[in-house]
Symmetry: C2
Subunit: 154 residues, 2 copies
């Protein structure tokens, strides 16, 4: 199976995300979600249909096939994990983390993705709760230097 373009991946993901909170997904919803016009959606959906990722009866709602659902889920999963890393580890604002995740999700390698996930996991399962060194990083960002008492942390 040919790799999807970033654009088609976006459309697939949009359908998925909209379906998480809506009973049905319309062409118009996707257009609004991605900030494009409806003919662009119709075009893209046509291509996704040809590939067996979306089902679309003329003038009807959009539905993901099992195959489409699986791919969309994977893409969105990447999105969420990149978001989490940027936001929770690096301290990037929620809105920027969201935007960056939207772009990066299409390009990042499996290897970097794995490491990013591991890092979040590493922090989440830190034996003594939220790590002191991450607090220190926040201090460093704020004050431009390491806190003084770093050697006394427990």
């Amino acid at each position: 199976m040919e790799k999807l373009t970033q654009s088609l991946e976006d459309y697939l993901e949009a359908i998925y995300v909209i379906s998480l909170t809506s009973k049905v997904v319309r062409v118009k919803d996707v257009a609004e979600f991605l900030d494009v016009k409806t003919p662009s959606v119709v075009d893209a959906v046509g291509k996704l249909s040809e590939r067996g990722l979306v089902v679309h009866e003329k003038y009807g709602y959009l539905e993901l096939t099992d195959k489409g659902y699986k791919i969309a889920e994977e893409v969105y999963d990447k999105h969420k994990k990149i978001y989490k890393f940027l936001n929770e580890i690096l301290g990037v604002s929620t809105s920027t983390s969201k935007k960056d995740a939207c772009n990066i999700e299409h390009y990042i390698s499996k290897e970097a993705m794995t490491k990013m996930i591991k890092f979040s996991e590493f922090v989440d399962t830190y034996p003594e709760g939220y790590p002191q060194w991450l607090k220190d990083f926040n201090y460093y960002v704020k004050h431009g230097r390491h806190p003084e008492n770093i050697s006394m942390e427990k």
Copy 2:
């Protein structure tokens, strides 16, 4: 000034990077560097010339203008810093870090970039040298769990 497309940014960066190790930059060099054919380079260079970022006399060498140099430098600087973060902090292989940096450099926000740089800096200037917690992260990646003696670290 209109934002450059990813593609044009790539061409500009390529000219810059090649010029770091070569006296002159030829159309052919850029084509090889970016793995495209020469007409694509000629096209792109035409656009970059129109914008005053590159100087190109017919059948001659390629040169960056001051403006072009500055932009290229910024892009490549981002590249290096993303690379460093992926490679040194997350432990992504050099080749993958390079590829990912190539893509991500075009999309990442200023804010996330700043945080990424700060994080690398935070680690580089860590008071006691290479941080124990980063060693612990490597352990975590390798063994899937935190090391036992984490509370005894100094």
